[in-house]
């Protein structure tokens, strides 16, 4: 498929990606969103801010992350797989890119405090980390169920000086943590920035987070170019909210590469959802017959989100990117395969992308193709869970 539409650009003042996006928030938050839009637009056009962003990611965040050729996997499945190693970024995933950007912006806006939502805790830990470095106060909202399931991450955030607030409303998971963070943001917009964790929420968040994450794709494109690989045939990333996918897609939006987002089968907002409005955006959402938002279900906490960033909904609708789902079982197998063959224990989220590649090699992915895989995070956070599952079967 050769693409001529230019995509992944500035979504304009109303934050539209085709029919998706926008800004659906309480009136009280409109000024803060507008202020953020102006501030980000200004900062992102400012070479000094950009340089600072890159400097912090280099010096503190561990960028550039390498691209690793997965020789043994490639040989086994007959396609050439290159992995962009976001697992090597500080705190163990691509989440650091976004929070470094947003905390620098927070300081630039003269705010002294950030709040964030978190599901399993990855974005919460990343936010607490970036906030600690700048001396910003930090409060993280986390579903009460998740605080129990991921109590170690709660402790990690506390070590980093953040306050963690268990959210007891609704299903007491990620979706409710977002609700609660938005509710709290209303009360403290003056001095507080809401550091959203993915390419979701009201404008300018989906755009801003994509821009901060686009460093993944730009680096990878350059790295593949430098080693003579050129444009890959496929760029594959897992999709929760969609930030790591947006980040890597951004480096290949105008290329001939096929972009593939892999959702958890039990949280497939594109395949299983309908257009709707949630958390400040119009996008594809899992909904009941009467328009209530449904719980996503996945082995991986980071893909347990009933929606998807609006730009992905748009890319899907125009056919520029394809979104597929994989179930828990092949994900577990992919995690084990990559560990054993390559010495890389991927995050369960990232293992979704691996699972799709191994499934489709020789089918949707012609043999001999070149595939760029976004290894969005490391699996250390997941090994206890994986062990319990595998043990339960013995």
């Amino acid at each position: 498929m050769t693409q001529t539409v230019r995509v992944m650009k500035d979504p304009g003042d109303d934050g539209r990606f085709g029919e998706f996006g926008g800004r659906f928030v309480p009136e009280a938050l409109i000024p803060a969103c507008e202020e953020l839009d102006v501030a980000f637009r200004d900062a992102w056009a400012d070479p000094i801010f950009r340089e600072e962003f890159h400097h912090v990611l280099r010096e503190f965040g561990g960028r550039p992350t390498p691209v690793t050729y997965l020789a043994r996997l490639s040989e086994q499945i007959g396609v050439h797989v290159y992995a962009k190693r976001e697992d090597l970024a500080h705190t163990g995933s691509h989440k650091i890119n976004n929070v470094v950007g947003q905390t620098l912006l927070t300081r630039r806006m003269g705010k002294t405090r950030v709040i964030a939502e978190t599901g399993a805790g990855q974005h919460g830990v990343a936010t607490a980390t970036a906030a600690a470095r700048l001396g910003l106060e930090c409060t993280v909202y986390m579903g009460e169920l998740d605080t129990q399931r991921q109590s170690l991450n709660v402790f990690r955030m506390e070590l980093l000086g953040a306050r963690v607030v268990p959210v007891t409303s609704g299903s007491r998971t990620l979706k409710d943590a977002v609700n609660e963070a938005m509710r709290e943001w209303v009360t403290c917009v003056d001095d507080t920035h809401y550091c959203l964790g993915s390419v979701m929420g009201p404008h300018p968040f989906p755009w801003m987070v994509r821009e901060f994450q686009s460093i993944i794709g730009h680096e990878a494109a350059q790295q593949l170019h430098d080693r003579g690989v050129g444009t890959p045939d496929f760029v594959v990333a897992c999709v929760g909210g969609g930030s790591n996918a947006a980040g890597i897609f951004a480096g290949f939006a105008d290329s001939s590469a096929r972009l593939v987002g892999v959702e958890a089968a039990g949280g497939a907002a594109i395949a299983g959802g309908q257009p709707g409005v949630l958390h400040g955006m119009r996008s594809m959402l899992l909904q009941s017959e009467s328009g209530q938002i449904e719980e996503a279900e996945s082995i991986s906490a980071g893909l347990d989100y009933p929606g998807i960033g609006p730009e992905h909904a748009h890319l899907a609708s125009i056919g520029r990117a394809t979104y597929v789902g994989v179930g828990d079982e092949p994900v577990l197998e992919a995690l084990q395969l990559l560990s054993r063959l390559e010495g890389l224990i991927p995050a369960l989220e990232s293992a979704h992308a691996v699972a799709w590649i191994t499934r489709e090699a020789g089918r949707d992915i012609p043999l001999g193709s070149t595939v760029l895989l976004n290894l969005s995070g490391r699996g250390d956070k997941d090994v206890a869970q994986v062990r319990e599952i595998l043990r339960g079967r013995e």
Binding site: A28, I30, A32, N179, S290
Partner: protein, 252 residues
């Protein structure tokens, strides 16, 4: 000018203060009886919540009411049908989140709302910029779309909102979700700013929970909206008779 706005303006022009209580539809089996009780107590209009799974402008009390209603199996269609079968006698304003309307479809929503006897809607996550398509449809059905003004709204924005406001202007007394009444709020200042640009009735909401607070609001605003304080009691087992008694104290 639609029915809601006409009646509220008339009242305002008479110098009467409006008491607008809020109830979540379906939160208790006899919710309609509570509405009747509110009307009997002298409510000017009743704000009826349609539950949504993710109510981001609501505090814990109304969250609980949403959950209770959803757990009881209520749907927007069902609620509006029930409302339509009851003749309430004062204007009804539905408060819900935009996804409910979006999911039903704009036309269908407007139709069902009208059939339910509703004359206005409050959609706290649908601000002016995003409201266009819905407002067009709503207008066609004679439904007012009430807009909110917050303490954080800057004047140029208030001016713009005022220019598009319908029914009444919902002046949020504080930067908070529903049910918060832990400080004095900024109601007077917000109302004053709205008045500069609008001659619509201005009602104060968010954090009005006692008759005393309502009276204070009546000093400078045209009415007060009382939600969580009422909902909490109804969830706690208050009977319609008690509801009538409770509500009476809010009526000037």
């Amino acid at each position: 000018m639609n029915s809601l706005e006409t009646s509220l303006r008339t009242r305002r022009d008479r110098g009467d203060k409006s008491f607008v209580p809020y109830l979540m539809a379906g939160m208790v089996p006899d919710w309609l009886d509570h509405i009747d009780a509110l009307v009997a107590a002298g409510a000017t209009a009743v704000e009826v919540g349609i539950p949504f799974s993710d109510p981001i402008l609501d505090g814990v009390v109304i969250q609980r009411a949403s959950l209770a209603s959803l757990s009881a199996g209520n749907t927007p269609e069902g609620i509006l049908a029930e409302l339509g079968r009851r003749s309430v006698g004062v204007p009804l304003v539905v408060m819900t989140y935009f996804n409910i309307i979006h999911h039903l479809g704009l036309e269908r929503s407007a139709h069902l709302l009208c059939a339910g006897g509703v004359s206005g809607v409050i959609l706290p996550d649908l601000t002016l910029e995003e409201a266009g398509p819905w407002r067009n449809v709503a207008h066609g059905s004679g439904l007012d779309t009430v807009l909110l003004v917050a303490p954080s709204s800057p004047e140029p924005r208030i001016e713009k909102i005022a220019a598009h406001a319908e029914g009444f202007v919902y002046a949020a007394s504080r930067m908070a979700v529903t049910g918060r009444a832990d400080d004095d709020g900024h109601a007077a200042a917000v109302v004053e700013r709205v008045r500069r640009y609008s001659d619509l009735p201005v009602f104060v909401g968010i954090g009005v929970s006692t008759p005393q607070q309502a009276r204070e609001a009546y000093e400078f605003a045209d009415g007060a909206i009382v939600g969580s304080a009422l909902v909490e009691r109804v969830l706690g087992g208050m009977t319609p008779t008690q509801t009538e008694q409770f509500a009476r104290d809010f009526v000037l």
